[in-house]
């Protein structure tokens, strides 16, 4: 398999994630879409790591996994905190802040 295939796949995943962030309104799903975008980045990193034959990209991807996990934890924490306070978390309804 040419490496380009993997990269095109990762581009496709990235674009899918970006579309998801734009069209979905549930914060939970938006977090999932962020995962998609980060995973796309990871796939690209690992592909390049394979292409270049060095493992730096893999280490980078590993660190990104940690980061993604941390973002998820915080994001879910906020969602749960909001749910407990009965705050509707439909991202478009977060318009109390719009001026």
């Amino acid at each position: 398999m040419d490496m380009s295939w993997y990269l095109v796949l990762s581009a496709l995943l990235f674009a899918t994630g970006a579309v998801g962030v734009l069209i979905r309104r549930s914060p939970l799903v938006i977090l999932l879409c962020l995962e998609l975008m980060l995973n796309a980045g990871n796939l690209a990193l690992i592909t390049f790591s394979r292409t270049l034959g060095d493992e730096e990209g893999q280490v980078f991807a590993l660190i990104v996994m940690v980061i993604a996990a941390c973002e998820v934890v915080i994001g879910l924490g906020i969602i749960v905190a909001a749910y407990r306070r009965r705050i509707p978390l439909n991202v478009d309804e977060l318009r109390a802040l719009r001026g």
């Binding site: 040419d2 095109v8 970006a18 799903v29 998820v72 934890v73």
Partner: protein, 172 residues
């Protein structure tokens, strides 16, 4: 053989991703993401990143997704309304996404890098093994490794801050 594996992985991966953004029930979206993650781990294996594939399954698909499932269950799987506040956003977003994809594809296909059109160089046996990764982490990327562990600590503190039940709340 490799081709078949790749396409199987790619279809699982992409199908999962599209299902994540396409399904209206957040709970199903979470399940779709699990499919996506497992397929992705398969692709990682094809790319000779064994350790990462394992980490992906154990940490991600295992631990993190469990968190998601719990939260989805806790918050309740409220169906999302189809009503859209900004008219046209629904079709505008895919257009933007398509543009992004085309742009990235141009970058990839238009690149003059020869190595992209090969299957990659032959690498020795230990490539992507826990040992190799671990050595890099402790030698060249020590700072990143330490910072990542600190980041986990901070995320834990953050979660505690966000989740802590206040006195007033407990009484009310």
């Amino acid at each position: 053989m490799k081709e078949i594996c790749f396409f199987a992985g790619a279809i699982g991966c992409l199908g999962g991703a599209i299902a994540v953004i396409g399904l209206r029930n957040p709970f199903y979206s979470v399940l779709a993401l699990i499919v996506h993650l497992i397929s992705l781990a398969g692709l990682f294996l094809l790319l000779r990143a064994e350790f990462l594939a394992a980490a992906q399954i154990v940490v991600y698909a295992g631990a993190v997704m469990v968190l998601y499932v719990f939260v989805a269950a806790y918050v309740g799987n409220v169906e999302e309304s189809l009503w859209e506040p900004i008219p046209g956003q629904r079709w505008l977003a895919p257009v933007l996404g398509l543009a992004l994809f085309v742009e990235l594809s141009i970058a990839i296909i238009g690149s003059g890098l020869k190595s992209l059109d090969t299957e990659g160089p032959t690498v020795e046996l230990g490539f992507g093994s826990p040992e190799a990764i671990g050595r890099l982490l402790l030698e060249r990327f020590l700072i990143a490794f330490e910072a990542a562990s600190l980041l986990l600590l901070i995320a834990a503190v953050g979660a505690v801050v966000l989740a802590a039940r206040r006195r007033e709340e407990a009484t009310s």
